[in-house]
Symmetry: C2
């Protein structure tokens, strides 16, 4: 049994995590470049990742989890910067649907991120300074290519399952398209095969908010000792609205006032929803890099499987991967028709696919929350994949 798993606890600090993350790191030297869609060979580079559970001797129980825009590799452990629980502890852990007592679970920070995988905040080895906008623009396929190199390094040929929501779901789809023989089962959640015009529009608002902040300094804020906090906070606030539904906002906040009964007739945060959004903005800037935000939203905007392959059906043609596609009724960032387009394309090629639209008013963020119907479906899908791969129930073989 391999013992790759382990969590190195860090002493916090967003800046430190960029080059010296509180997690496992795989480094790739000048002779192992990452070929990027933009034409650049990125080398050297590194991938920061977490691993939970144990890889069995057949190396057949690995599950790759892909994180969303502002997520990272800390999927099921205390976050080294925020001190908060992992972002998908409802899904991953002992006894959870992705059971770390049965599966070897890997989650890597994406290329372009800011939690230890190479990205715009990382030190550019050729200058000793942060890359900033000199970092090449990356795509979802680039992120997946980097993850494949990580799996090669770990000696894992085939994944039992790739799972993720939102931008993580895009990576799941890309995994199935680019490496069909390496993916036994795929669980793309609250995602789509491309970014819509409205989603590109929201991303562009966020980028403009960051770039409008004079402290952004053309992306050179590290060198100039500034931090575009205000711009990044505004970007986060705008995006955060899209992660919730109108109904969820109404249920959580309605028109309730914050610690008062009457309006102040001012521009203070009179309403709870204002106070909540301001908090979302200000806490986000403590843990995320502004340039990474530009790069990762750009990667989502560029994502378009059908354009890359002629049609969506062609992209999945002949796949032997089994799919479980999940959407949520109140998700207006990736509404159900986006998932249905994937399902139709898979069906057109005779793929093995199940589809579930979960009834919830919790919006896009539902994939991160304790939504029992969703978690039950995920558990059944992964268990059935394990059975098909002849993995013993409840124990890893070794």
């Amino acid at each position: 049994m391999s013992e790759l798993a382990g969590i190195t606890s860090g002493d916090g600090g967003r800046e430190r995590e960029v080059d010296h993350p509180s997690s496992l790191v795989a480094t790739f030297g000048p002779d192992e470049p990452l070929r990027l869609d933009c034409g650049v060979d990125l080398a050297p580079f590194q991938i920061a990742y977490q691993a939970y559970g144990s890889l069995n001797s057949e190396r057949s129980n690995a599950v790759l989890v892909c994180h969303a825009l502002t997520g990272d590799q800390h999927v099921a452990n205390i976050h080294p910067v925020t001190g908060k629980p992992g972002w998908w502890e409802t899904m991953i852990g002992p006894g959870r649907p992705i059971d770390t007592e049965r599966y070897f679970v890997i989650c890597a920070n994406v290329i372009g991120g800011c939690m230890g995988s190479s990205g715009p905040a990382s030190t550019n080895p050729s200058t000793g300074q942060p890359w900033g906008l000199d970092f090449p623009v990356v795509t979802i396929p680039d992120m997946v290519r980097a993850q494949a190199m990580l799996l090669d390094r770990l000696g894992i040929d085939t994944l039992l399952c790739v799972a993720g929501g939102s931008m993580g779901g895009m990576q799941v789809l890309q995994w199935a398209v680019a490496y069909p023989e390496r993916v036994f089962a795929a669980l793309p959640v609250a995602t789509g095969p491309r970014h819509s015009a409205q989603n590109i529009a929201f991303d562009e608002v966020g980028r403009q908010a960051v770039m409008a902040d004079p402290d952004w300094r053309g992306g050179r804020y590290f060198a100039e000792g500034t931090h575009p906090r205000r711009g990044l906070a505004v970007a986060r606030m705008a995006a955060h609205i899209t992660y919730l539904s109108d109904a969820a906002l109404h249920r959580k906040f309605g028109r309730r006032m914050q610690d008062r009964e009457l309006p102040t007739f001012s521009f203070d945060a009179d309403f709870q929803v204002e106070s909540y959004l301001r908090h979302q903005g200000s806490s986000f800037v403590e843990r995320f890099d502004a340039n990474s935000y530009l790069y990762l939203t750009r990667a989502m905007d560029y994502f378009d499987i059908a354009a890359d392959h002629g049609t969506l059906a062609k992209a999945f043609l002949g796949t032997r991967t089994r799919f479980c596609v999940v959407s949520f009724t109140s998700d207006w960032l990736f509404p159900t028709p986006e998932s249905q387009a994937v399902v139709r394309a898979l069906n057109a090629g005779g793929a093995r696919v199940s589809f579930a639209e979960i009834e919830t008013d919790r919006g896009h963020d539902a994939f991160l929350l304790d939504v029992p119907e969703f978690l039950d479906i995920a558990r059944a899908f992964i268990d059935s994949a394990a059975v098909a791969r002849c993995l013993g129930a409840g124990h890893t073989t070794s």
Copy 2:
């Protein structure tokens, strides 16, 4: 026949319009204060307005049009700053549903605006400097109270109709609530009886974008010779997305590239929708005042008829006004249930109300566009009100 109508053409310039608008102006002296909900008596103050057509001798053919957040009094004439047509020329003009050959049409810039009615950009008479944030916070009821004072000045007791969409629709509802005896017919379009939590959230993002711009200078940008262009542009971009539907964005732009076929792998506006949004942002700042944007979004946030009156039904109890409430299927800023809440409240009080939900994919902005079904309904409603008021068809009596 009165001859109040007339359009004074200006020489442009946003700053000039603030105190010396290219339109009619009613000034109110120290003895005629505007009582504001915040407790302040605003005096002196002025209201800039446009008028089209002729008031009949019975003074019974007046139609008041209320503008939306970023609209103004230039509803049916070339805009003095932008040089563009009036914002509701599909609805108002000779032969249009609100026919200026039959009706005397008035549209006033709201209090808190920046096109000639007193607002934060206006000169504070007690200092000789722009008000900035010293201007009192205003509400939708304050806007309507000011319009009522304007009508008193014009000698118009009863309005044949009050019409408007979005924030204009809020004013229509408030007119019917506050002055039921002065409103014969009311046409609230694409609006609601209160701002939802999601709408407050979007407004707060816009305000934070403005206030995050260092050039905002705590609202004192006139005195300091700056202009929070970038922040206001980001606010406009975010808001603009909410005015369109996902389907409309998809139809107009999809994922089409701007003057190129391949991605640039940069943060340029690769996609047409990005380029479009950037243009919306940059052109808006040429014609609108940043502080006005704060004040008017705040007024919308505070709007809540039910809270002011106990219940919505109580607010409309005993009304003799006839209503035509209109919503659009793809409007997600003021979705149909908001209009239905108004209709239910009116029905509960036995009011005369018709309701139309118009099928369109054009989103909230549909009320400003050439949507024939909507325009036909508006025409029929206003014509029928005119018949009920015994106005001759096709000509004003004099």
